[in-house]
Symmetry: C2
Subunit: 182 residues, 2 copies
Amino acid sequence: MTPPLLVQFAGGDHGPWRVTEQRTLCGEPLPAVPRLEVLEGAHAPPPASWVLRASTGNLRYTTRAERDDLRQAQEGLNRPASTRAVLIPIRKTPAWWELAQDERRAILEEQSRHIAIGREYMPAIARRLHHGRELGEPFDFLTWFEFAPEDAPAFDKLLARLRETAEWAFVDREVELHLTRA
Amino acid sequence: MTPPLLVQFAGGDHGPWRVTEQRTLCGEPLPAVPRLEVLEGAHAPPPASWVLRASTGNLRYTTRAERDDLRQAQEGLNRPASTRAVLIPIRKTPAWWELAQDERRAILEEQSRHIAIGREYMPAIARRLHHGRELGEPFDFLTWFEFAPEDAPAFDKLLARLRETAEWAFVDREVELHLTRA
């Protein structure tokens, strides 16, 4: 399906993903749930403890050269071996959104190497970014990662590296849900 | 109110703006309506022939230097003398959205001078841009312009100049509603 694709992440008692760990890194927590369901496209909101909505969209910072390299390197979602997933909802500060485009790009990539760090973990760690800010949602971004169990340590390393960057000083709410395909 | 601000533009029999002219530049027309209502923030959709929804948001292409200059130059909406308004809903082609960030910026500003052309008509022509794409709306952008009657010829010139640019080759649906405060 052509983007933007609306995706709903519903936390509650149903869904094919079992929540094995739920952590709040900063800001208000999300109520703890045992299961997660992911619904793509137009659906009535499912019965759930909470539903987070966001849309895939066009690239906001990536240059043509970076995009071509990423497309070469990455693999898609739903690989049979990808029985682990992590959902990371993030909100950035008003100060971030007040920055101009060139300032945000400089922090994200020239200073923080966000795109380059993610690239190093491809194709093992597949991901899809969803934008929630324009939808009036509580989180600006929902990033969905998928990988095989043996790549879980690499994923932890990727996360730790990103969280040390200058960009992460602009994150004021962040939650982490670790998931296993039930 | 801090962005994003959700705005609904409702075309029908009600509202403080009288439609004096409605044109389709390309793509599917919008049903003709005599009045327009503009609703900011969370509201149930009003009874109307059609309702277009979009959100204000962060700057997508503007650099810090350009932003500072624009802020200095521009005036806000709702000036008492601004009894004319124009709403321009636009959709861009899949080819546009497929471009990387640096390619879109180069077409928008380095080639087409979109930001610089708009700047020349400040403060007379005030405007606010709203993003609809992530909301699954039929138009990617709704731009709202406000000005005094004597600045209508300048506005026409601004529009004509933008429509001659390389950027406009990526527009595949565009409608124009001219409005007068009733």
